[in-house]
């Protein structure tokens, strides 16, 4: 075998495709990150300038008050819930697209799902306020149909409102991730499995799901992680009850307390890293075919 494909070792030159992205990451991400990391150990003077006054206070603060821990745990729970729900919503949708729709229409429908997200986020969420609010469309419909006696006031300005809108904002990412995995799946395997006596759900669970695992994992990463930093959605539809950790972090910025903001952000990122390490066995995707 003289091709490169089977080789696993070689010189550093084969890593050349990394260079552009490595340059982007280093110059535009890691270096700025290092700077704000240092800031997280400094303090802000009364003139709102960051001064090299080394301290651990910015980090210690978050362990001293139970508000931050409570809000952070709630944010993790919300992110998890939205991720699972997003997969549940996007899964059958992507499956339907790949299995029953011709390739040309597949792309169109995918674009149709993504298209609304090219309009402004703010006005879309304003529209959700108008749907879920006490005087909103949903309540008007329910009231006029006589299904409820008085308007539902628990859909907006709380965790439920945040959940609905977060699901709305993030499920297209799940759709796109699942679609790319499902798209290459050979559906005749399911029929073959049934020939061999498997029930449909068994076939799905033991044949389909393992093969689209990369897509599922990608979907989880695209949805779960960014939600931990979300603050706009909670501000717009969370009221005072649906506050997430992102809001508390941004509040520090608004007050000019940059070191505290940096410290809080790094703590959240550290937890995410911890989760990624803890769950690495589930995240590992072996090259299923190359071994063959």
């Amino acid at each position: 075998m003289t091709t490169r494909f089977g080789q696993r070792r070689g010189n550093l030159l084969r890593l050349w495709p990394f260079v552009p992205s490595a340059a982007v990451l280093t110059g535009l991400f890691f270096i700025p990150l290092a700077i704000v990391f240092v800031y997280s150990f400094w303090q802000v003077d009364p003139n709102l300038q960051v001064v090299p006054d080394w301290t651990l206070r910015n980090y210690a603060k978050f362990f001293g008050t139970e508000t931050y821990l409570r809000t952070f745990l709630k944010t993790i729970a919300m992110a998890g819930l939205v991720t699972v729900s997003g997969l549940a919503v996007a899964g059958p949708f992507a499956y339907f697209l790949v299995r029953y729709v011709s390739p040309r229409w597949q792309r169109l429908i995918l674009l149709a799902v993504v298209l609304p997200f090219w309009t402004s986020y703010l006005v879309r969420v304003y529209a959700w306020q108008a749907i879920l609010g006490e005087k909103g469309v949903l309540n008007s419909v329910l009231l006029s149909l006589g299904l409820v006696a008085k308007p539902l006031d628990f859909l907006l300005y709380n965790d439920i409102g945040v959940f609905i809108v977060l699901l709305y904002v993030y499920f297209p990412f799940a759709v796109l991730s699942l679609y790319t995995s499902l798209e290459r799946f050979d559906f005749t395997q399911l029929a073959a499995a049934q020939d061999l006596g498997a029930r449909p759900d068994q076939a799905l669970r033991r044949i389909l799901l393992p093969q689209i695992r990369p897509g599922i994992i990608t979907a989880c990463i695209f949805v779960f992680i960014p939600i931990l930093g979300e603050y706009l959605t909670p501000t717009l539809v969370g009221g005072t009850k649906g506050v997430l950790i992102g809001n508390l972090i941004v509040n520090f910025y608004r007050g000019g307390a940059f070191p505290a903001m940096a410290a809080a952000s790094f703590l959240v990122a550290a937890v995410v890293l911890g989760l990624l390490v803890a769950f690495r066995r589930y995240l590992q995707v072996e090259d299923l075919v190359a071994r063959g």
Binding site: S21, F29, I31, I35, P116, Q129, V137, P214, I249, M261
Partner: protein
Amino acid sequence: MAHAGDRLETMPVSPYAGLVRWLLRGWAAAVLAFTYAPIVLLVLFSFEDSRTIGFPITGFSLRWYEGLPANTPLVRAVATSVTIALVVAVVATLVGTLAAFPLVRAGIRRPNAARVLFTMPIMLPGILIGVGLLVFLAGILKVPLSLLTVIAGHLVLTMPFVVLIVSARLQSFDRRLEWAAADLGADPARTLRYVVLPLIAPAILAGALISVTLSIDEFVVTFFTVGPQLTLPIYIYTQIKFGVTPEVNAVATLVLAGTALVLGLGTLLAMLTRRALRLSRRRAGVKRSEASA
């Protein structure tokens, strides 16, 4: 290898297949309805007369649409946003796809650690990345803030998505196809071009779509890295003191309609081209068989 759209009806199916298909169809319709419900209201509010978006509606008027051509900052902001999104999509897709290959195939000792490095920009709140970029680019490097710094910021945010989605696709790529191509005499470049890329195209497309989506509405990082330019989200969010008016609904509606129009025309064009090609091929085939007869 069978693909979607093949005539699978000839294979044995479960008795519930028909029901399942209808349920899935209903689900897809429900998902699309969920996606477009707020859009309906968004368009509705663009026609409302009062300055304040939302219910109650005091009356209907076209004034927000009429005012658009005169509102040059807004029009320019939309153009800027679209330009940035396209540039970011192209660069992020190129750079990200390029990086996905060695990530999966170069035999790196700790592939998951490398993947985590690429995922890191997603892990940090945008506001931190924004502050960091501002301090580094403007404060330390003294780079003037401009569209370039904005594009740089967007690149950082979108590249991880492209890398992850393309590498996930590459991960489960059937290498034997490449080996077969090599057996048939193709060099690595041809194999890449004619075998690998077409098969991972859906992932690249998904990555590009995600990049455009993330960039066109990006506010937080843009806010820190922008100079005297306006993108649509910046225009909207800086109306904080007095609030936005339905003109942003009007702009959003036009953007939506415009994109749908472009897509519709594109699809129509593709359909017509395909039909024309098929016809010409058929005619050429007939000629050839006539010639050989």
